[in-house]
């Protein structure tokens, strides 16, 4: 549902982490992790983007970069046209940094650790209100908090706000965290694996709640998951897009139906295979990758990063890294196979010395 002016536009953003040398680190070799590597992405008003990928592929880093919690090494992040990091350093930006800060919020994976264990919920919820609604009286702030809490089903709110986080169940904690981010009336919420820590039986409920509130407040979501079926649930229910990340790059992006039904990238296919279904699709027990383990993020493979694991890889993948090849309706993949006329098709298959796994 992206509109013309995106809330966030990400342009060729990279985030690299390198070991910072101490006083005696004279001889340190650089160990750079390219957590995010040249990603561009737009998130519109009332938009939902789900990001999936293996652990360590850079999802969280990308997410945090998008909401301005992590400074990119290169590239730019614009909030409604205003570069976030320029807003922070400039004197008179069009949109003040504090507004941007408020507009981009985050829900953490583990609701337990996202709440200060020593504070009662009321304190935790009041703090951001105090910061952003300084004019409001204490009672008025409390009203809002109570209203939202009741809204997410934590009633009686009066009882809940006086508890400590450990006195809530995981699902309840996650709702409080959600309420906390909504209190600021943000434009974009990064939900970083916000439901992974919950019991399976509670996930659907939580996702429904988030989507309902999204409707209500018109917030956009960047939803991070490593589980394709959850990602699909969110994306499909909200009509959003899905982006598949692999080693710092988005290897496939598009509307959910197309990505799920017609995955272009072999990695997406592998993910789809790895997401077992209760019903149907059994039988195929051939591993769709040549290697189970992910390569070292510090020394990534040349060419297409996926080539050592890719069952379809050919010689050309070893040396060249494909760009995003868009097919139809905003669906694109970083794989030569999406381009029917690419030299890939003439390239010889990689002769695997270790023998295929599948």
């Amino acid at each position: 549902m992206s509109s013309d002016s995106p809330v966030i536009s990400v342009d060729d953003v990279s985030v690299h982490f390198s070991d910072s040398g101490g006083l005696f680190d004279l001889f340190s070799e650089d160990e750079t992790v390219r957590a995010v590597d040249g990603i561009s992405l737009d998130i519109g008003e009332n938009d939902v983007v789900t990001l999936i990928g293996e652990s360590g592929c850079g999802k969280s880093t990308l997410g945090k970069t998008i909401i301005g919690a992590q400074k990119p090494t290169s590239g730019s992040i614009k909030y409604r046209g205003q570069d976030i990091w320029e807003a922070k350093s400039e004197r008179n930006p069009e949109i003040p940094f504090s507004d941007i800060r408020r507009s981009l919020q985050m829900i953490h994976q583990d609701p337990g650790s996202a709440l200060n264990p020593n504070q009662r919920l009321l304190t935790t919820l009041m703090l951001p209100m105090k910061k952003w609604n300084p004019d409001l009286g204490r009672e008025r702030r409390k009203e809002r908090i109570f209203a939202l809490l009741e809204k997410v089903g934590l009633s009686p709110a009066e009882d809940f706000v006086n508890r400590f986080p450990h006195q809530l169940s995981g699902g309840e904690q996650q709702r409080v965290v959600l309420v906390r981010s909504l209190l600021l009336n943000p434009d974009l919420i990064l939900a970083d694996e916000a439901i992974s820590a919950l019991d399976v039986s509670l996930r659907v409920e939580m996702m429904d709640l988030m989507l309902e509130l999204q409707d209500l407040f018109g917030t956009s979501y960047l939803f991070i998951s490593h589980d394709l079926s959850n990602a699909r649930y969110i994306a499909e229910k909200s009509g959003g897009r899905i982006a598949v990340m692999y080693l710092g790059k988005i290897v496939e992006v598009g509307p959910i139906e197309q990505v799920i039904e017609n995955p272009q990238h072999p990695y997406t296919k592998a993910l789809k295979w790895a997401t077992p279904n209760l019903y149907g699709d059994d039988g195929d027990e051939t591993l769709p990758v040549r290697e189970i383990d992910i390569p070292d993020p510090v020394n990534r493979p040349s060419g297409c990063h996926f080539h050592p694991r890719c069952p379809e890889a050919r010689e050309v993948c070893r040396t060249q890294d494909p760009n995003l090849i868009t097919t139809d309706g905003g669906h694109g993949a970083r794989c030569y196979r999406a381009d029917e006329s690419h030299e890939y098709w003439d390239s010889p298959s990689i002769v695997d010395d270790e023998g295929e796994l599948g």
């Binding site: 006083l23 650790s113 200060n116 020593n118 009672e139 009203e143 006195q167 309902e212």
Partner: protein, 335 residues
């Protein structure tokens, strides 16, 4: 969950709604605060014999140092017969020393000095440690972190006791606060390191990141998210540091390295020891009672440091609070 009637729910609508503020709110809040921060810890303490005993003994010493010095006259020589044995006379229940000064009043009048020393030492070392630890933890990876940690490592490595001995030998501090400060000098680095690693791990906690992302000012983050987590830790270490300061100061007085102008348990021990109290049965009480005081005071601090652990435990406190009770089943599940 779903809430069908509020489908028309609108953010604006909840903001516009104005409800009469509850009138009893302030009182309720106060009551709750007292319950949670005063009564509940007291109840927790009452459950924990260590905190109870430690607190009681410490309280006794505090009384000695405050009320005691008012009630009991400063000892002067010739108050009583020389070297009277203990438990013989009500006027000097613990006996007297070679000057005929009652032992009990010497012990009592030494207490304020000891507390001053402890106070200064603990404030210096714990304060310094907290500042260094928090700053370098917060600026992890920055130059300042490297510099502070290198400094800390350096100070850790220089052995404390010899350094203190050298410093006190040179400066001959007489003021108990000054003595405390000198002794605090070598006590901070270990704590600073641990504070730093605590800060680092607290910073890893998502709630700190969440606060940052919500734009909560740094001062609030430091106070609410970091210091409040560190407090128990710092307090416990404060108690242990105090014990160390007692050991070291009394030791230096005992050795005669610090100038002994005032009443001090170590001075008593020194005089008794030098007077060969060990081989003189009529003198041994002069040595034993100050030793007992040192033992009891440090014992109380050690106990307290262990008891504090549970005192600062939010879970225990919440369990002992009346105003934040909730049905037991839920509480236990999320544990």
């Amino acid at each position: 969950m779903s809430n069908p009637e509020t489908d028309t729910f609108d953010l604006q609508s909840i903001y516009d709604e104005s409800i009469e503020p509850e009138p009893e709110s302030r009182r309720v809040r106060l009551r709750r605060a007292i319950d949670l921060n005063v009564l509940a810890p007291a109840r927790v303490a009452a459950d924990d014999w260590r905190a109870l005993l430690g607190g009681a003994i410490l309280g006794l010493f505090v009384l000695m140092g405050t009320v005691g010095v008012v009630l009991v006259d400063k000892p002067t020589s010739g108050d009583a017969p020389v070297l009277a044995g203990p438990f013989e006379e009500l006027a000097y229940p613990l006996g007297t020393d070679v000057f005929g000064q009652p032992i009990h009043s010497q012990l009592i009048h030494a207490t304020p000095g000891i507390f001053k020393m402890i106070f200064a030492g603990a404030v210096v070392s714990v304060g310094f440690a907290a500042i260094v630890g928090v700053v370098s933890g917060f600026k992890h990876g920055d130059r300042i972190d490297t510099v502070l940690m290198t400094l800390t490592d350096v100070v850790i490595t220089i052995p404390g006791l010899p350094l203190i001995i050298v410093i006190t030998a040179i400066f001959q501090p007489e003021n108990p606060y000054l003595v405390g400060i000198f002794l605090g000098i070598d006590n901070w680095p270990g704590l600073a390191r641990t504070v730093r690693s605590q800060v680092l791990s607290i910073r890893e906690e998502s709630y700190v990141e969440a606060s940052e992302i919500m734009g909560i000012p740094l001062s609030s983050i430091l106070r609410r998210d970091i210091l409040s987590q560190l407090m128990p830790y710092v307090m416990i270490n404060g108690a242990l540091t105090s014990r160390r300061i007692i050991f070291e100061s009394v030791g230096l007085y005992f050795l005669g390295i610090l100038p002994f102008t005032t009443f001090n348990w170590g001075v008593m021990m020194n005089l008794a020891y030098e007077g060969n109290a060990l081989t003189r049965p009529d003198m041994i009480h002069w040595m034993v009672f100050p030793m007992l005081c040192i033992f009891l005071l440090s014992f109380s601090l050690v106990l307290l440091s262990q008891g504090l652990d549970s005192l600062f435990n939010v879970r225990l406190r919440a369990r002992h609070a009346n105003t934040t009770k909730k049905d037991a089943s839920r509480a236990s599940q999320s544990d």
